[in-house]
């Protein structure tokens, strides 16, 4: 069992802030594999997943890293902090 948390637009797409994901017993799971299981469960996330960053606690985790199933896997979509300029993304 792995808790997955959603932020930003992903909350809208998934329709929830977090969900519990069934994971294979007694087997290590990479972040990438966890995202595949999530994709099967919530197909609507497909276009977002390639641009999502993943974190556990205060650290980003790469797709090839092993998930710590005792902590939530946090999904962070593209960020829009600071300030958005006159004509879009990069200003």
């Amino acid at each position: 069992m792995l808790v997955v948390e959603f932020y930003g637009v992903l909350q809208q797409v998934a329709g929830t802030r977090s969900m519990e994901l069934e994971t294979p017993q007694s087997e290590q799971l990479t972040v990438g594999q966890a995202l595949e299981l999530l994709h099967e469960r919530v197909p609507g996330l497909s276009e977002h997943l390639p641009r999502v960053a993943c974190a556990q606690a205060e650290n980003l985790v790469r797709r090839d890293q092993i998930v710590d199933t005792h902590r939530p896997l946090v999904l962070l979509p593209p960020v829009s902090g600071g300030w958005r300029g006159g004509n879009g993304l990069d200003d």
């Binding site: 979509p77 960020v79 300030w83």
Partner: protein
């Protein structure tokens, strides 16, 4: 010290925190909520954050800015929650001996914040609709270089 806050950002507070009699140059950048976005009227907005990481990102970015540039003081705060038009979403305060360094450092801090800080903007439009703005994929100090 605070980095992410749901209270209004207070420039005076950051100016006091960074007071430094050895510095002659002060540069402030503030991002403020505009009343329009891509031709649509904006009535307000809210920022959400992944707070366990966001505080650390800002704290680390302050340190990195102090190490990369010959500046003496750097403070960054970002607002979360509901903001009205004209309110500040972010404040960057830099103090240095040379003015060019303060400008360069402030610019670096805000440019870097935009790709590293896990926060999301949710616009409220004057027609009553709401939308998340698209953004840039999150980067880390490692992934950038």
């Amino acid at each position: 010290m605070a980095w992410m806050t749901d209270e209004p950002l207070l420039l005076d507070q950051l100016l006091q925190e960074t007071a430094d009699d050895t510095c002659g140059a002060l540069v402030v950048f503030a991002g403020t909520v505009r009343d329009h976005h891509e031709g649509r009227g904006v009535s307000g907005m809210s920022y959400s954050a992944y707070k366990p990481m966001a505080d650390k990102v800002l704290q680390d970015l302050e340190q990195e800015t102090l190490e990369r540039f010959p500046v003496e003081q750097c403070r960054i705060m970002h607002r979360i929650g509901d903001l009205a038009i004209g309110e500040a979403s972010v404040l960057v305060v830099v103090r240095s001996h040379h003015r060019a360094d303060a400008f360069d450092a402030a610019r670096y801090a805000i440019d870097t914040l935009k790709v590293r800080l896990p926060v999301w903007k949710h616009d409220e439009y004057t027609d009553g609709s709401r939308a998340y703005q698209d953004g840039v994929p999150l980067q880390t100090p490692d992934s950038e270089r």
